[in-house]
Amino acid sequence: MTQSKKRIEEIIFEERISYDSRHAWVKIEDHGAIIGISDYAQDQLGDLVFVELPSIGDVFGRGEVFGQVESVKSVSSLIMPIGGTVTAINEELEDDPELLNRSPYSQGWIIKVEPKSLEELEELLTSRQYADYLKTTEG
């Protein structure tokens, strides 16, 4: 059975978060930033079978690989949309990787970080810009 992918107009976008072109999102909270992958990314990957998470305290720069997601069909690196120090990981993903498929912007968050610099956020995309980006790249 081939899993059909969503059309661009079916992709869910969250308004109050920032995206990068490699399909990660960042949400700023009082005590740092939450990072996950977009609805588009989870849909492209398909049903996840494994999520490899970093450790608390690990430090990553923007653009660095901080983990890996694996579905039956593919393996994809998780790439930091901003630099920072990992302060929390979503351990629920270890037992239930499909949480990321079901709820990419909420229960399926991946890590929390203390950002290195909030200036990096300025280089990210709004939900509208990200939607436009997907339309241009995916046709």
Binding site: M1, D47, F50, V72, P97
Partner: protein
């Protein structure tokens, strides 16, 4: 403990393996990783990631689990069900799809179990599958049976190097007559392709260096003199050091595409259709 088979919905190869077990009244539990077996497969995968092979199309199904024994792909699964661990080595996980099955390595298993191997190949063929088998020349008696029974739709012969280098490349004693006999059988096969991988060879003085263009020419000459033909489809492959299982070889500098040109030029003196594999 029952044998478990992880399947994917609609997977024809999974159905063939289940049919094999049904015919022989082998008890098993099926877990469809797209349906009721999703959670169990996730747990299995988490515990056994390093043992699960991924091809270009993702994870290959079926996967059978019998206690600590895990076998992936139709060939390895049926081989295990048919003869337990006796056929280990003969079957790996292939990368071809639809009606084609590859990952059948005639030289890699114990030739004492040739009968069992032939039976498994016959079963695969009886299910309208096409087989691509490979050999490096060892186990020529098995190769002869495979060819005579029409079990190989495509035969890939990996000629490792000139005959005198075989023991160094394989790091074991090699019966030269076995290799010569296999080469001599190629003309009886429906479709045969030859290839040599330019790899780092451990030399007699303990040093490590790539097969040279002159050694590849000697390999091509060996093919010509043994088969009587200089018109085989002959492919030069390069194993990037990073893909080697051997830590020492991983440290060697990779060859650039242009560095393979002298190899091709030399080999064409003896095999006129020599080409370099495009990756």
């Amino acid at each position: 403990m029952s044998l478990v088979i992880f399947t994917a919905t609609g997977c024809t190869r999974c159905k063939i393996v289940k049919h094999y077990m049904d015919q022989r009244q082998i008890k098993y539990v099926e877990r469809d990783m797209k349906a009721e077996g999703k959670e169990e497969f996730q747990n299995f995968y988490k515990m056994n990631r390093s043992a699960v092979f991924r091809g270009p199309e993702g994870i290959e199904f079926p996967i059978i689990v019998d206690g600590s024994n895990i076998r992936q792909s139709i060939g390895a699964a049926i081989a295990y069900l048919h003869a337990g661990e006796k056929l280990d080595g003969f079957f790996g996980v292939g990368t071809l799809h639809q009606e084609w099955v590859d990952g059948i390595h005639l030289s890699q298993g114990d030739p004492a179990y040739g009968d069992e191997l032939i039976q498994v190949l016959q079963y695969l063929k009886s299910n309208q599958l096409k087989l691509q088998v490979d050999t490096d020349g060892r186990n020529s008696e098995i190769l002869e049976r495979v060819i005579d029974e029409g079990l190989a739709n495509v035969l890939i012969m990996n000629v490792l190097g000139p005959l005198e280098l075989y023991p160094q490349i394989l790091e074991q004693d090699v019966d030269g007559q076995d290799i010569r006999k296999s080469l001599g059988l190629l003309c009886r096969c429906q479709e045969a392709r030859l290839q040599t991988t330019i790899r780092a060879v451990k030399r007699k003085d303990g040093s490590l260096s790539y097969l040279t263009p002159a050694e590849l020419a000697a390999t091509a000459e060996f093919i010509q003199t043994t088969t009587g033909s200089n018109k085989w489809r002959y492919l030069i492959k390069h194993l990037p050091p990073g893909e080697s299982a051997d830590n020492v070889r991983q440290g060697i500098k990779a060859l650039q595409w242009s560095e393979l040109f002298p190899y091709r030029a030399k080999a064409r003196d003896y095999q006129v259709y020599t080409e370099i594999e495009r990756t």
